[in-house]
């Protein structure tokens, strides 16, 4: 999936740069099809979206690290959008979802691929999709190819 020279293993850990922009770091990872989730070494909690402190225990940036989630998730809720607005008009109907990583945090994303019979509680797997020159994290149903 990752063909670059800077490919990193799934168990890689990176420090969070105290002077860096965590939002830029997150999307930079996505552009290489790597999803980096923040983990707090002080309280052992995960958080999404990324921040410059731990929202659970207020540990400073120096206590945070970037880790790669295993990629498994559960569908918390979803809606099929039938009328996209602006750039999304071409994608309708599409699935907007709230997805819970096995590590705990929830994110908004899309479920792509075969969504026939999609149901809350379904197992999902992290994937990436390219849209208008940008790589965004999406999910597919576990065991189904996108």
């Amino acid at each position: 999936m990752n063909d670059g020279a800077d490919a990193v293993g799934a168990d890689a850990v990176r420090k969070v740069d105290p002077s860096g922009d965590v939002e830029a770091t997150f999307w930079d990872g996505c552009s290489r099809r790597e999803f980096w989730l923040q983990h707090c070494t002080a309280c052992d909690a995960w958080q999404f979206y990324p921040r410059s402190l731990c929202s659970h225990c207020w540990a400073p940036t120096s206590e945070l690290e970037w880790r790669r989630p295993a990629g498994g998730a559960v569908l918390e809720s979803f809606s099929v959008v039938h009328r996209g607005s602006g750039p999304f008009a071409d994608y309708a109907p599409y699935v907007v979802a709230l997805v819970r990583f096995d590590e705990g945090p929830i994110m908004m994303s899309n479920v792509v691929g075969d969504v026939e019979g999609l149901a809350i509680g379904d197992r999902l797997e992290l994937d990436f999709a390219e849209r208008a020159g940008r790589v965004v994290p999406v999910f597919t149903r576990a065991g189904k190819l996108s």
Partner: protein
Amino acid sequence: MSANQGPPVYISGSAQEIVGRGRPAPAYLNLLAAAAADAVADAGLDRAAIDGLVLSSSIPQPFERNPAEVAEYLGLGAAYTAMAPYGGRPATDVLHLARSAVRAGLATNVLVLSADTFATTLGLEGAIDLYMKSFDASYERPFGPLIPTAFALMAARHVHDYGTSMEQLARVAVSIRKHGLLNPHTEVSGELTVRSVVDDVLVSTPLTRSMLALISTGGAQGFVVTRERVDRRSVALLGYGEASAFMSLSQAPSLVHFAHIRRAADLALRQADAELTDVDFVQFYDPATIVPLILLESIGFCGPGEGGAFVEDGAIEIGGRLPMNTHGGTLAFRHPGMGAALDSVVEAVTQLRGEAGPRQVRDAGLGLVHGQGSWLANNGFLILGSS
């Protein structure tokens, strides 16, 4: 600590500017000025008595004029001025700000103004696009949620967890439409049936178009909040509670039940020394029919998951045990923008004065008004009582 937080202040003047469905709204300042003049006239006060101004932001013109500029435009002279300019507000907050100014001795008679030219300024597509910017630019908008999608995600989970039916989601729209048709200024026409609502075009599953708020071209509201009761038409502002708990839906502790809603409502009730059973009617912000169900449950009018059954027998209709949105709300009156919750305040005042005509709730003595910012993220509850 005493439950009651001091003597009430009064909403002695109340006004609503009507634009009409599809008609272009007058200029923003024209609407504001009309609301000011009508509210002061309704209070029966001389404009020289006004010594404060609280301005609500609008959606398309959040910073068009600061409140001192508006006070100057209106020729108020020396006055306390404040504005609630931020996004994600419950909109009911401006009455609280006026009450606070009166109680702090900063002013005696405070004008509260709100105007929106929403779809007039932006067009329908522009209004939808601006609304979508409510979602987080980095972590939500890349996935294309419409505003209805936020409520759809709640509705889908509510259906999953509690077995709430499409018919129950539709019933809210049917009941509130009946009220809208009793309002001479409604922007809708024709009755709805459960079947027509369920069979309407899907916008964001499970929600159909008839389960969602209107988008209006504009409107305005004005109030005069006074330290003293002016006359029997003065309505007492007995309590206000507000709480936010998240902004991004991914950060919400639940999609179907919200402790911060209960907290905000309880704060307002305690200030008013009132119980839920004392409430004669509610005016809930109703951007989607799932919202009233969640509010009924989270406030405690019924248990978790019981909202669908609560509305099935017409309980929320005028004559029912808890009349809701007696003016039609945003589902069946209008949605002018940020001032939608202030239309609810106008209606509550009208009900408590006994001036609601064919839609009057009998013996209306105490009303609960809800305002909401960004998909139940932030909620502000007012308790108003007849004097």
